[in-house]
């Protein structure tokens, strides 16, 4: 009986190909837009997360001055950190894997007849660990370079591109301000960060040299700290705060003149924003799925006159009510499933094109695919089946006369 109903259903679908296409069009568009939109939203979220992770994982940033939202109060008045602070943090705080100063300044750098303004950082070898930098050629600083403040530097890929025309610059000399600096290494490219800042536009120098030749004093304005595991971050943050309060003689009734930020805060803020974006895109698409459902309902109701007559004919020549119903149920399921499958494929194609155009990572959310598919099939079956059920319960004579 089932194979018979299946046979009749397939016949009816093929015979009424226009009606069938119109019916599944709503499902196709609905499912495709939900899947496509969510893929773009998920891709954006993943992109932001990856961008933040590239900035350095499990990283704490210790800065002079109070943390302020909006316009920052001049933090220059606060006492800077000292070289000894870095050593103390490393020795006294547990779960710390690396600590480095991060003094930076934007400086015009020159090679041959080209000049370019880049961020120059004074730090130590721990900086590479904390910020997840790898070298594509050359080496990191050696002990003597760090201790004596030799004019050595390690450059980012943007600098290689802008000043050295893509050639390996190791062994060449770069001019910073009024002195020249040996290029000893090149960093691997990281690409743009989540905020659109080019992370590869960087020149890393030993802290000693930076303080002496660029800064002109021994101050440290910012320290970055890497914690071994993310679960220890909160405790480390507390420990460092206590340590620094003690070292900077801050009384219990005084405000701190430094602050610590962790990447988790940033990550959760950014991901909640992009998740909102996903929800927004998803709900717009869900509306189109609903509109698609209403489209199915319309087609089914419009064709019910024609179909009621068909049901009357089938009943009059001896079809059982259950046979007619099964036929309509199979038709509805076949059409909706077909629409759902085409919708999924189309959605994946749209999402794929979308994320590749926008340069986002490809994330396939199976849960959304399944949900959209089940929802659309459900709508198709409900709106295909119930009008048919009403017709099949009619007296065949009335169904035949139905206009």
């Amino acid at each position: 009986m089932l194979s018979n109903a299946f046979l009749i259903a397939i016949k009816e679908i093929r015979k009424n190909i226009l009606r069938s296409i119109l019916t599944i069009l709503g499902i196709v568009i609905g499912v495709a837009s939900v899947i496509g939109m969510v893929m773009i939203g998920d891709g954006t979220t993943a992109n932001v997360q990856q961008g933040i992770q590239k900035l350095g994982t499990n990283m704490l940033t210790l800065r002079v001055g109070q943390e302020r939202r909006g316009r920052a109060k001049s933090s220059n008045s606060a006492r800077p950190f000292e070289n000894a602070d870095i050593a103390t943090i490393k020795s006294e705080i547990s779960n710390v894997s690396a600590v480095a100063a991060e003094n930076s300044s934007n400086i015009n750098v020159i090679y041959s007849n080209k000049s370019y303004t880049s961020s120059v950082v004074g730090t130590s070898n721990d900086y590479f660990i904390i910020k997840n930098w790898n070298l594509s050629s050359g080496r990191i600083f050696d002990e003597s370079e760090l201790n004596y403040g030799t004019a050595s530097c390690i450059v980012g890929s943007t600098i290689v591109k802008q000043l050295f025309e893509g050639e390996d610059p190791v062994g060449l000399k770069l001019r910073l301000k009024n002195f020249s600096c040996n290029v000893i290494g090149v960093l691997e490219s990281k690409g743009a960060a989540a905020f659109g800042r080019d992370q590869d536009e960087i020149i890393i120098t030993p802290l000693q040299m930076f303080q002496r030749k660029i800064q002109g004093n021994k101050d440290i304005s910012s320290i970055i700290i890497s914690i071994n595991e993310s679960k220890n971050i909160k405790q480390a943050k507390k420990d460092i705060t206590l340590l620094m309060q003690e070292r900077r003689d801050i009384k219990p009734d005084e405000d701190d003149n430094f602050h610590i930020r962790d990447m988790e805060d940033l990550l959760s803020t950014m991901t909640s924003t992009t998740k909102m974006l996903t929800y927004l895109l998803g709900s717009v698409a869900a509306i189109s799925l609903l509109v698609g459902g209403i489209g199915i309902m319309n087609i089914m109701l419009v064709s019910v006159t024609e179909r009621t007559k068909e049901i009357g004919i089938r009943l009059a020549i001896g079809a059982l009510e259950s046979e007619v119903l099964l036929q309509f149920l199979v038709e509805a399921i076949v059409l909706s499933t077909l629409g759902g499958i085409i919708g999924i494929l189309l959605g994946l194609v749209i999402g794929n094109i979308g994320v590749s155009v926008m340069g986002l990572p490809l994330i396939i959310n199976t849960q959304i695919i399944i949900t959209a598919f089940i929802f659309s099939t459900f709508i198709g079956v409900i709106f295909g089946y119930f009008p048919a059920r009403k017709a099949a319960q009619m007296n065949p004579i009335d169904a035949l006369r139905y206009e």
Partner: protein
């Protein structure tokens, strides 16, 4: 003809619609019987009860009281599905409005009752072709109703009705939508089916000219039988 088996027997059948004040009596205790091989016309004005009788013979409707015996089965005791099975196995229908499935070839329309009888594909095709040959449509088997004339559509409907070799063919105003030439063609076809293949035919009509093709005419008036004429073929 008198020694033929009675296949349809109405015993004091009444039918009323509605309830209380609005209750209308479509049939008031009608009794008659029809023997195998007869060609019976049922005539009467609209509202005389002829269509109600026809629907009841066709197991599409049930009596309010009385008995309807079809081939020794008491139809008034059957449920909806059992009546569908009677229709499927013993009856063929021809309607005024043809009632063919649209966008479906003549052959597939004729195959339809066989599908519900679970006749295998190959047998189904050959039976349908044979039925179409009987009504003279072997040249247009793949045409859809839209590509056929009214007379041809009614022939397809007749082929669909006889493809199962039914005991009884029920025709409800079969010429109602056709011009006079096509009407005569259809009546000649029905007469041929009755004479050559011995199919019992019951036809509702309001045209005396068409009724003349039958072997007997039953006249209905106000829910009862007014007259019953036995006559020779025209």
């Amino acid at each position: 003809m008198s020694n033929k088996k009675v296949i349809i027997e109405f015993k004091n059948v009444a039918k009323s619609y509605g309830k209380g004040e609005a209750k209308t009596h479509a049939l008031n205790g009608v009794s008659f019987d029809i023997k195998q091989g007869e060609f019976v016309s049922i005539m009467g004005a609209s509202g005389s009860g002829k269509s109600t009788t026809m629907n009841m013979i066709g197991c599409l409707d049930t009596p309010s009281s009385g008995e309807y015996v079809f081939d020794s089965i008491n139809v008034e005791k059957l449920n909806r599905n059992q009546r569908a099975i009677i229709r499927r196995n013993y009856l063929g229908f021809v309607f005024q409005g043809f009632n063919l499935l649209g966008r479906t070839s003549a052959l597939e329309n004729v195959e339809l009752p066989l599908i519900y009888r679970k006749v295998p594909l190959q047998k189904r095709k050959s039976m349908a072709l044979e039925a179409l040959k009987k009504v003279g449509l072997e040249s247009v088997v793949h045409h859809t109703p839209a590509e056929l004339s009214g007379g041809q559509q009614q022939r397809v409907a007749i082929a669909r009705a006889i493809v199962t070799n039914p005991l009884v063919l029920l025709a409800d105003e079969p010429t109602g939508n056709l011009d006079s030439i096509k009407s005569l063609e259809i009546m000649n076809l029905l007469k041929k089916l009755n004479e050559e293949f011995g199919i019992t035919i019951i036809m509702v009509t309001h045209e005396e000219e068409m009724a003349q093709y039958s072997s007997r005419i039953i006249y209905f008036r106000d829910g009862h039988i007014e007259d019953s004429l036995k006559k020779g073929f025209k």
